[in-house]
Subunit: 249 residues, 2 copies
């Protein structure tokens, strides 16, 4: 089954989709998300964990900015997981992750996540295949623990083409306001695409389908933002939340 | 198999064991533990997690005090898990636990632990059988994660008799220096012994034998201290630790 072969999945919106109409739709979804986050917080029963993964320059930061623009910042936190610190490395790979899982009523966004420990660490040769297999199992157990506790776990892979990535790297080089995002290793990392595709495929196959990965065609930001907003809103609607009544005492 | 039927396991030392000789032995073990903790810290490769469970007044605090008396306090932390706070309750049951697992080179002692969520919560009717079964599985996955990361997990059940517990409660009532430990609910909790025995049995059966429970006859403090010290020392000896050489650069 090649469902998860990224080289065969389009990175673009369907040809006939209207950009203007979709953007209008996204605006409505973002308004609705503001309301739903309020209910989530008021009801205090559920929480939402959003995992964002994707190659460099796939637009993870941008997605957060666009989709959560209207949401009360008190109810949302973003945690970016970078190269582990010495302290983090002195614990198991889920230690630094677990402490940032959302409390009831909260939305937590992971910009990169525990999945880096079965992706970049494999590319770097720090994690072998057998260890990756073990980690898939513990990741599933961990995410199930969260789900059973009322945390909805939404996992997005922001899917861009190699050509689009190159373009964005060049933009970083040429736009002084984006220089801070430029990293001399960026251009080199392109060599690792086939490996990343393989390791992502294994992640999608092993860490689902109970808590499925959503592969988001992300070459066009407007389409990416639309799909992410839509998935989040549908997930929260599915909880049938209610504002609590007046305290009875 | 009745291996784990606590009502059939002695709470006392073997009849012919010399108390004086055992205490001398314990002193040697405690000295050795001081040395081993130094190596653990210096080598920075392994860590040790000690889980202490037992009925009220089974001597968990006393065990920590006696066994770790000689160890450098910088290398050892004790975390007592009490009734969860509101913040802790707004996360999954392992959230408050995971953050206190030991870094490499450290010894962490849990005075009560994640096991309370399949023990006291069952007695109180907060955790049903199906949930307990699920938790056994996630506890095993969690402890395996720690072990694979180099954390030795040692789980002790301090086994006292009901008569001994009663005596210790009365001591708390009659000794002004122990009044602070007295809790009016203590005497009531005796009613729940049969339930606790059943739930502990399920814990021992389901959360082992890879990471086994050690049932420590604890009516006599000197025997309890000896067994705990011995187990810890043997576990650390089994790691074949070495002091690192001089940096080669």
């Amino acid at each position: 089954m090649d469902t998860y072969d990224l080289s065969k999945i389009s990175t673009r919106a369907p040809e006939n989709l209207s950009k203007a109409a979709t953007k209008d739709e996204t605006d409505l979804l973002i308004d609705r998300l503001e309301e739903l986050q309020n209910m989530l917080y008021a009801e205090g029963k559920w929480s939402l964990l959003i995992v964002l993964q994707g190659m460099d320059a796939s637009g993870k930061d941008g997605a957060v900015k666009a989709v959560f623009s209207a949401v009360n910042p008190q109810g949302v936190s973003v945690k970016s997981f970078k190269k582990p610190t010495e302290e983090e490395l002195s614990h198991d790979f889920l230690w630094r992750i677990h402490r940032h899982t959302p409390a009831r009523g909260k939305i937590q966004i992971f910009n990169r996540s525990h999945y880096e420990d079965v992706l970049v660490t494999r590319v770097l040769g720090l994690t072998d295949d057998a260890t990756a297999q073990k980690r898939f199992k513990i990741i599933n157990a961990f995410e199930n623990l969260l789900q059973e506790r009322g945390t909805q776990v939404l996992k997005f892979y922001l899917h861009i083409s190699e050509a689009e990535q190159q373009e964005r790297f060049e933009e970083r080089l040429n736009n002084p306001r984006k220089h801070w995002k430029y990293n001399p290793n960026d251009l080199k990392s392109a060599e690792n695409w086939p490996e990343y595709r393989q390791y992502y495929k294994e992640v999608f196959e092993n860490c689902g389908p109970d808590i499925p990965w959503r592969i988001i065609p992300s070459d066009q930001k407007w389409y990416k933002e639309y799909l992410i907003a839509k998935t989040i809103v549908e997930t929260l609607e599915g909880l049938h939340m209610k504002y609590p009544g007046l305290p009875t005492e």
